[in-house]
Subunit: 386 residues, 2 copies
């Protein structure tokens, strides 16, 4: 059994191997790699005599895990998979890589072993919002999803979604349309975009944003993989907005994952006569989601949860987004950061996003304008190019 | 000043007089009659030398109150007003009358001095739900209001509303259409139905239900009287359902009154693109209202608040609705009371309305069916005529 396993010295290949060996959310795999590290866990797999990790589960559970992993070890060739994604212009990232989204660590033992990326992995660490919803969307839902996504993308948030028909597709498309960033999380490998009907859209997402997956090239999507994929959408974003979902929609699983990860969840209401809104109303009634009517309310929700800068590292030298003009005092920097990356915003909006008093914001905007960092347009303010 | 005041021995006339002298929600009038009684308060008004009630407000406040009441005392003739409502086939009711809705006492010093009624004042003590909303309603809102009102009226609840165009009118009309009870609360006197465009509808409400007001015949409605009228709608009903309301709609005042009176408030969501639903979404976001999608959820809300029997006297001999078949043990009586007065209900609905376990309900329904009190129709149960 030792033959097909990669060199145990290479952490990246060991992670890629585990991504192939274990299905997403395999608890025993998660526990094993947490206990022994990915390379150590491969060593454990090599030695049929190795003791299972102490505690947690009795021996038969580990025997069953070995039994379900064994077929996947045959023909395993992580180096070939890595070469494969490179041929597609993509790459694989793992914790420790500069681009690794720290937000995924919130998934703990359910974190993906690695992440396959086509496009710019750099955007994965930027503040993001998930916009998800029904494939069987209505014209109403598509309209609202488009407005929300365009506005949120325009204010500098990356729009994360699942690349599906309906609401997901509209969310990606609207973000691209305003020149914003968007990430599609796939349930299968990145050698093939699914659904095929969205292949052109997903190719554009890969070009201008990023298409990501936890499963390597050649992996096919399945129902269970769609559900486990939903936790990645929830984890990658600072908040989750549901636009249309049926009473038992799979979209609700994304919302539940977000809630479990303590991300704020928002839902857009619709006519009570529309089955496509029943899931949204359910989330609001159950107290899982906050009702939102527009992008401003989503930003407000994220600001109140302190999520708008969720993925900014807080424990290393980089304390501010790199595009903040140098030399600003901290109150001015706060106001500058509350301004949208693109587009203009009113004083009230800046105060809301930044969680600052209107008076403070007025003074800071005046100073920023004098210093040439901000341009006033009527009652709105815009960052000048830096 | 003594001349035009009625015989101070007649409490009804004294209350009618105060209803004419003071505007609704006049706090000094409320405090004065709470302190001295309606007849005593008239006596106080007669004597220019009487001391104001101690505490609460300094003397200038009482001087201003006297000054604003004085013009109303001229020409006061409560007996003529009472004769006037009799000519219209109506009457005036006061606390102590059998038909007086005890729910109004929750308004405390803001309770009306008396209530003018055209129609059957008996229905004012029965379990009721308020369905209120925008005059500028949409086809969507009217559809939902009609469905809600018909279903709630059909399950035996009186539908209370304000008789206005739009949602109010639909609520009254739908309740009448299913042979249910409905009450319209007017902001002006009952000699003229307002708005004139709803005169035919309000005449039907007066014939089959009741049209009520706190102001005597001849009083005209005004903006402030519409707002104070809203507290009566809120108080008369065990719960308040808002179907469409603009962002600053007057309907929101009814919802706020209901919330202050600890009545459950529900709001029906709608498209976020519809200005007519903005007020509903606001109530839900602010936590004032629970989102409801159908009549079952309204009944559930009322049941959970114990409001479906809100107006049943709890501290006198009559402990059960008079139409409960005699001789039932308490668990069977509970199930019987959870059945709609008209129409049939599923076991699940009975359990929900009654707040009972499904198993209990099944056993009790079987016993009630055997005893001939309930008839089964497929999977639904209906009270037999008693």
């Amino acid at each position: 059994m030792a033959e097909p396993l990669p060199d145990a010295d290479d952490t990246v290949l060991a992670r890629v191997a585990w991504g192939r060996i274990a299905e997403p959310c395999d608890l025993q795999a998660g526990a094993l790699v947490a206990h022994l590290g990915h390379r150590g866990a491969l060593g454990w797999l090599r030695s049929t005599r190795a003791e299972p990790p102490p505690g947690l589960w009795p021996a038969p559970v580990w025997e069953r895990a070995r039994a379900r992993w064994a077929p996947r070890v045959e023909g395993l060739d992580p180096a070939r998979e890595v070469a494969g994604i490179r041929r597609l212009g993509g790459r694989v990232i793992v914790p420790g890589d500069e681009e690794w989204p720290a937000a995924l660590d919130d998934l703990d033992v359910l974190a993906p072993h690695c992440l396959w990326v086509r496009g710019d992995p750099g955007i994965l660490r930027r503040p993001a919002v998930a916009i998800v919803g029904a494939r069987a969307s209505t014209g109403y839902g598509e309209h609202v999803a488009g407005e929300l996504s365009a506005s949120l993308a325009d204010s500098g948030l990356t729009v994360v979604s699942g690349g599906a028909f309906g609401i997901d597709a509209v969310a990606h498309r609207a973000a691209l349309a305003v020149g914003g960033a968007t990430v599609a999380v796939m349930a299968g490998g990145l050698d093939r975009f699914y659904p095929a009907g969205n292949a052109d859209l997903l190719a554009r997402v890969a070009r201008d944003g990023a298409v990501v997956a936890e499963l390597g090239p050649g992996s096919s999507p399945s129902r269970s993989r769609f559900l486990t994929r939903n936790r990645l959408i929830a984890a990658l974003a600072g908040a989750c907005v549901v636009v249309e979902a049926g009473w038992r929609s799979g979209t609700l699983s994304t919302a539940m994952h977000a809630a479990r990860l303590l991300r704020p969840v928002a839902a857009v209401p619709g006519p009570v006569t529309s089955a496509a809104s029943a899931g949204c109303h359910r989330l609001i009634r159950d107290g899982v989601a906050v009702l939102v009517s527009d992008a401003g309310q989503v930003r407000e929700l994220m600001a109140s949860a302190g999520e708008d800068l969720a993925d900014e590292p807080s424990d290393d030298a980089v304390r501010r987004p790199s595009d903040t003009p140098p030399g600003l005092d901290s109150s001015h920097a706060q106001v500058w950061e509350a301004l949208p990356a693109r587009g203009a915003a009113t004083l009230e909006s800046v105060a809301r996003v930044g969680g600052l008093a209107a008076r403070e914001v007025r003074i800071a905007l005046g100073a920023l304008e004098l210093a040439g960092h901000v341009r006033r347009e009527g009652d709105r303010y815009r960052r000048t190019a830096t």
